[in-house]
């Protein structure tokens, strides 16, 4: 198919078909989620369930791919669905305008091959990790603050987020002071999308490692933690 011509041979024809059969849950359609959705739609992941309870605000314009002056006040999930339809109508999008909660997490994960954590608060991220573990589904975590980004792949039971967050009891991190920059979100999200595609295709990816990106220092570090 001509649409996917430039995916090859980095992605084989068999792998292309495999991607079309996969379903991914993306939780959060903001700075990270918007770019993850864009990348997965363009590469040809067949089914996406996109979840976010928010509407766009003016402060999202500095970094969120799906946010424009035209859709302020409108649901992020609607913008995600419209964007995917415009970019790749072969991709089926199930848009859920809701916050992830303990009550709905397992239902949202149902039928998915992977979950992508594009959330912006600590409690919801921990809920997603717990639910993904219970469902036996791998999860790709991403987080940003200022010039810094982080990605890790969490296989069910690894609980890597407990290393990053648990002892604090805080709901937000450094991003409250440092803000979030467009290129940090785009780079981190792109890395999340790549790890997600590798998971879907059974290719080796990050394993028991935390990937740290510092765009101010132009450095990338992999920290082995498991």
């Amino acid at each position: 198919m001509e649409r996917y011509l430039r995916n090859h041979d980095a992605i084989s024809l068999d792998e292309q078909e495999k991607l079309a059969s996969k379903r991914v849950l993306i939780v959060g359609c903001g700075g990270l989620g918007g770019m993850v959705i864009e990348c997965l739609a363009r590469i040809g992941v067949g089914h996406m369930r996109v979840v976010d309870g928010d509407v766009f605000e003016e402060s999202n314009l500095n970094r969120q791919l799906l946010c424009s002056g035209m859709n302020l006040g409108r649901p992020k999930t609607l913008a995600a669905q419209q964007r995917v339809m415009a970019v790749n109508p072969l991709v089926e999008v199930d848009a859920v305008q809701a916050d992830l909660t303990v009550e709905n997490a397992l239902e949202l994960l149902e039928g998915c091959d992977a979950a992508v954590d594009c959330l912006d608060g600590i409690p919801a991220r921990l809920i997603l990790q717990q639910a993904a573990k219970a469902a036996g589904i791998p999860m790709v975590h991403g987080a940003v603050a200022g010039w810094n980004g982080r990605v890790c792949v969490i296989q069910p039971g690894e609980d890597l987020l407990n290393l990053l967050y648990t002892d604090f009891g805080e709901t937000q991190g450094e991003e409250q002071q440092a803000g979030t920059l467009s290129f940090t979100a785009a780079l981190t999200a792109s890395w999340q999308a790549a790890e997600t595609v590798k998971l879907l295709l059974g290719k080796p990816g990050l394993q028991g490692e935390i990937l740290e990106v510092d765009l101010l220092q132009a450095s990338v570090t992999k920290i082995k933690v498991a």
Partner: protein
């Protein structure tokens, strides 16, 4: 020698978490420190000793999306 985020780092007697953070220039206001897997709260940075051979994990607290 100690490990800091899986990389070797020279150790010397008297080293504390605070000394290490200052030397490594960890500048974020919100930092997570674990020594041999055990979380060290910020109020203990000055008094928590780093021993030769310790495995230290220092991460910025980040949750933006």
């Amino acid at each position: 020698m100690i490990k800091v985020n899986t990389e070797d780092y020279p150790w010397y007697p008297g080293m504390t978490v605070r000394v290490l953070l200052d030397e490594k220039l960890f500048t974020f206001r919100h930092i997570i420190v674990r020594v041999n897997g055990e979380f060290v709260p910020e109020e203990d940075y000055e008094k928590h000793p780093i021993q030769d051979g310790d495995d230290v994990l220092v991460l910025h607290l980040m949750a933006g999306g």
